[in-house]
Symmetry: C2
């Protein structure tokens, strides 16, 4: 949350602006209102011609040493698919094509929306970027399910598998929440559950 | 773009941080790096039992007096579907249920992603909010196509119509760009075109 005005440097007052219904940082100097909005994380479940999945072992916090699909924050002036391709190049040195929406997950607790794409690897080139310790192509049976970095990665891989079994491509959306003790016993995933799932297609 | 540090109020230096590859506002006082990220617009194409569509006539800039689907910026700590329902209540005084993803549009030129949902009106109640001059339920043949406020609204209505004709529900994603002179002649929509469209389902 901003403490000082990003336009003029004045200390902000936290209050509800006229005509609004929630507290924002308001500048008593220049009048500028500061909005904090959720950020979009974009990434890819990329496969090669044999159906193997590209995974990266994380070299940076959080979850160093755990496996992830290439993903990161969407930047200004790029599309979500372009961002997913950029992250895949940055983290795995790989070029992807044919990006198609696979999952969208809300994580309201941390103000994030994940948009994950199916994609096809354009060639065999790959190399661990500075944010990765290691990258590799995994057969489905060899995916390190117990060492995945994030719930969104696990849920994306699972939905991809469901569609592959059914021979269809659909969009899967839902909300990721912290698991209660009861949920944890039911789901097997240690920290998070997917609720309000909607499947389109 | 931020000129002053939101944490400590120091004037920012625009430079590429260590290990990064694009220019950010960096604070030489406290070291904080300021990221500008795209914002998410959420909204709904809500229909009643007769298939009529809820539209709002805008009372605020931009595009005062033109018609829109209820939509606005996603807030922190809400899901995209919750945001679409909140905007529909704020702008049209209407309660919606059964939100299902319909379109996602990137608009990289202005750093926005639209996420529009299909939804069902829960009852007959509606009332113009402070951002609307008028709200109404429109039969398909009566939609004011020439007086729509935004390209994302037009493209969402069009995709909904395509699915309805085909008797399916799919996700339609794509990128909205400014039309070239040639595109304008081809598309009929005065300012924008949809490119790189992908249909899921």
């Amino acid at each position: 949350m901003a403490s000082f005005c990003s336009r003029c440097g004045t200390a902000l007052t936290q209050k509800v602006p006229d005509g609004d219904d929630r507290t924002r940082g308001v500048c008593d100097g220049c009048g500028f209102i500061h909005y904090d909005n959720p950020r979009v994380v974009v990434g890819a479940l990329a496969t090669d011609a044999q159906g193997r999945v590209l995974l990266c072992k994380r070299a940076i916090a959080p979850r160093v040493g755990y496996w992830t699909l290439p993903a990161g924050f969407l930047e200004l002036n790029e599309t979500a698919a372009e961002g997913a391709a950029r992250e895949t190049m940055e983290e795995a040195g790989a070029t992807i094509v044919d990006m198609r929406p696979l999952t969208t997950f809300d994580i309201p607790r941390i103000g994030q929306i994940y948009m994950m794409f199916r994609a096809r690897l354009a060639g065999p080139e790959m190399a661990a970027g500075t944010e990765s310790l290691e990258v590799g192509l995994y057969e489905w049976a060899d995916i390190p399910w117990d060492d995945l970095a994030f719930a969104a990665v696990r849920f994306t891989l699972e939905r991809f598998a469901i569609d592959r079994e059914a021979g269809v491509e659909r969009l899967h959306s839902g909300t990721i929440q912290i698991a209660t003790e009861r949920d944890k016993r039911a789901s097997g995933w240690p920290r998070s559950i997917l609720v309000d799932e909607v499947v389109v297609g």
